[in-house]
């Protein structure tokens, strides 16, 4: 994908550049930041993460499986003790809870990886090691016709460096 990438040294310049780009109808924007910042999240106005759905489904599957395993074992290999329930849900709650946590956690991580497209074998074109170190990066998708406009906006807000990437 063609676009322009810029490095910024300051947070507020980055936020203003993103806001200005969005005003000028640039929609495909990505930000690289050494640490998560609410300011950038607000400027990008991205939708809420869907990781929570993976957590919910994983947790429900886990708790179901966690009850099913001991109930099935008790039914298959009954230990009959003086009129007590062969399959007793109260002690099985421990196994149900543990498997809810286990499968819920693993599916949360799976969801994060799937939604964030991880693991990835190559870094995006334009990625710069500075973006994990101390600088902020702004990538904006722009064809040859709109690239000069994006460059101008980024420079106006104090970009340290602006590059065209293809």
């Amino acid at each position: 994908m063609q676009g322009v990438i810029a490095a910024f040294g300051e947070l507020d310049s980055t936020v203003h550049a993103i806001e200005d780009l969005r005003k000028q109808n640039f929609r495909d924007i990505a930000v690289y930041t050494p640490a998560p910042r609410h300011e950038l999240e607000d400027a990008i106005a991205a939708p809420k993460s869907n990781v929570r759905r993976f957590t919910l489904i994983g947790g429900l599957l886990g708790v179901t499986f966690g009850y099913w395993v001991p109930i099935w074992i008790s039914d298959y290999w009954p230990i009959v003790v003086g009129g007590k329930a062969v399959a007793s849900w109260i002690p099985y709650t421990i196994i149900g809870f543990e498997l809810m946590v286990l499968i819920g956690s693993l599916s949360t991580v799976f969801g994060m990886f799937a939604l964030a497209r991880l693991p990835r074998l190559t870094l995006t074109v334009g990625y710069d090691p500075r973006f994990s170190h101390g600088d902020f990066g702004v990538w904006v998708a722009a064809g040859p016709d709109r690239a000069p406009q994006a460059t101008e906006v980024l420079r106006k807000h104090g970009a340290l460096e602006v590059r065209h990437e293809r």
């Binding site: 040294g9 690289y32 950038l40 999240e41 421990i94 956690s105 991880l118 190559t122 994990s132 170190h133």
Partner: protein
């Protein structure tokens, strides 16, 4: 928008006094964090000496275990009626040590406790390695350790299944879940920091390893958005898990009809004890780390003071539980229970009970003094006492209970052998070997999270441009 804090001007080099909105005043920018934390990865002679000692201790443990496998469990000093000994004591001890890490990384994360930020990575590593150590002990305790997997329910040709009503089976689920979830939580938190190492590394081999471990992390807003959500949910899962794991471990005792064990107080008592012992171990590892890795301006005295208050609180809960046990025995009117508790503090095992009481109840009272809470030497010495006291707490629970049951003719003694002590020493070697390897390969502090609490670099502060010397002018509002 969230906070837009004023950065500390770079020319000021004043005392390290934290204020609201700026917890680490001596840390001025993101690059300084990377530089100083990556500098801790360089091995030193002292580190090699410690690693060598840990590996030596581990070999002593392996030698002792080999001897025990050859000779049988009798080599470990088991003698009826005491058929649980140092291994079960150490199992509970190491599971307990693991608890503080998850408390600090997950529970305090949900509570937004600022002091956790700089100490949680080391505590989390401690958790993972402590649970790895704890998991060895039930296997060491088996007569045929190679058949440990029989406790896991899986379809097998014998058509035999474990009893899911047994606390030992619950333990398998609880410990394996805890190990998996804490290791996952630990690794997920490490990914952005490994990406920093990948980007800063110059050695091509190490760079490739870090690149593989970072999974292609790029610090993009999409990645952070899903990461922060996933981290929150993992913390939310880990929080009840911490409380459940030691509760389940306590059921190993509380479900049995042994005097002193069969008590409903056990789950909260064990959880409080676990957190208390874990905080003790956090002090044992974090105080030398901050001193020898020169990270005093990250783990500030204020952070240690806050952790010491948590230590004092959990010590009080544990002390209350000790006293409540006596009250319950007294009110129960059960002579066996009363006899057991009398024997605990004035009889055969009085020495171990008093070590426990002095180390866990009396000495931590010193933390009421602010001066001692802020004295790192005292905190380190106290942490050693807490480690010893908490090992003896489990000794006091396991041994006197089994050696002094209902019938006087059944009463007996217990004498651990050199094999027990060799394996106990080996467990410390195993734990510290992993921990020492970790602190020189991975950042001992969470780089990305520290960057979150440091004021970000700003061009304009309160609408005024910042000049080259860090001050800002009154004109030129943007």
């Amino acid at each position: 928008m969230a906070t837009m804090a004023k950065p500390r001007p770079p020319h000021l080099d004043g005392p390290n006094i934290a204020a609201a909105g700026n917890r680490l005043p001596s840390v001025q920018d993101y690059k300084q964090i990377d530089r100083e934390i990556i500098a801790t990865l360089k091995p030193t002679l002292g580190w090699f000496a410690l690693l060598g000692s840990a590996i030596l201790a581990l070999f002593i443990g392996i030698g002792s275990w080999t001897y025990q496998i050859h000779e049988g469990l009798g080599a470990a000093g088991y003698q009826p009626p005491v058929m649980w000994g140092v291994y079960i004591v150490s199992f509970v001890f190491w599971v307990g040590i693991g608890h503080a890490g998850t408390l600090i990384s997950a529970i305090l994360y949900l509570f937004r406790a600022g002091f956790r930020t700089t100490i949680y990575r080391a505590s989390e590593a401690m958790t993972v390695f402590a649970v790895m150590t704890a998991g060895l002990f039930p296997i060491l305790h088996l007569g045929r350790p190679w058949k440990f997997f029989w406790l896991i329910p899986y379809p097998n040709w014998r058509l035999i299944w474990p009893n899911p009503k047994s606390p030992l089976v619950w333990d398998v689920f609880a410990i394996l879940t805890y190990l998996t979830v804490s290791a996952t939580f630990f690794y997920v938190g490490l990914i952005p920091d490994i990406a920093v190492l990948r980007d800063q590394e110059t050695n091509p081999v190490r760079k490739r390893i870090f690149a593989a471990l970072a999974l292609g992390w790029r610090n993009s807003d999409t990645e952070w958005r899903h990461f922060t959500r996933a981290y929150l949910f993992l913390a939310a899962f880990a929080t009840p898990l911490v409380l459940s794991v030691h509760s389940v471990v306590s059921f190993d005792f509380a479900m049995a009809l042994v005097p002193g064990w069969h008590a409903t107080i056990f789950p909260p008592y064990f959880v409080a004890g676990a957190i208390f012992s874990g905080i003790g171990m956090v002090f044992t590892i974090i105080i030398p780390i901050r001193k020898f890795m020169k990270l005093q301006h990250y783990v500030t005295i204020n952070d240690l003071d806050a952790a010491a208050k948590l230590c004092l609180f959990t010590s009080s809960v544990v002390g209350l539980a000790y006293l409540t046990e006596f009250l319950v025995a007294w009110l129960s009117g059960n002579p066996v229970e009363q006899e057991y508790f009398w024997n605990r503090v004035f009889g055969q095992w009085a020495w171990s009970a008093w070590i426990m009481i002095i180390c866990n109840m009396v000495l931590p009272l010193s933390l009421f003094s602010q001066k001692l809470r802020r004295n790192t030497t005292w905190l380190f010495i106290l942490s050693i006492f807490i480690n010893i006291g908490m090992w003896f707490e489990r000794f006091v629970i396991v041994i006197p209970g089994l050696s002094h049951e209902y019938e006087p003719w059944q009463w007996g003694g217990y004498h651990p052998t050199w094999v027990d002590f060799g394996i106990l020493l080996g467990s410390f070697g195993w734990f510290f070997m992993w921990f020492l390897l970790f602190i020189r390969q991975m950042p001992v502090m969470a780089i990305a999270e520290i960057k979150e609490i440091v004021p970000p670099p700003m061009r304009h502060v309160h609408g005024h441009p910042v000049t080259a010397d860090g001050s800002h002018t009154t004109g030129g509002a943007h």
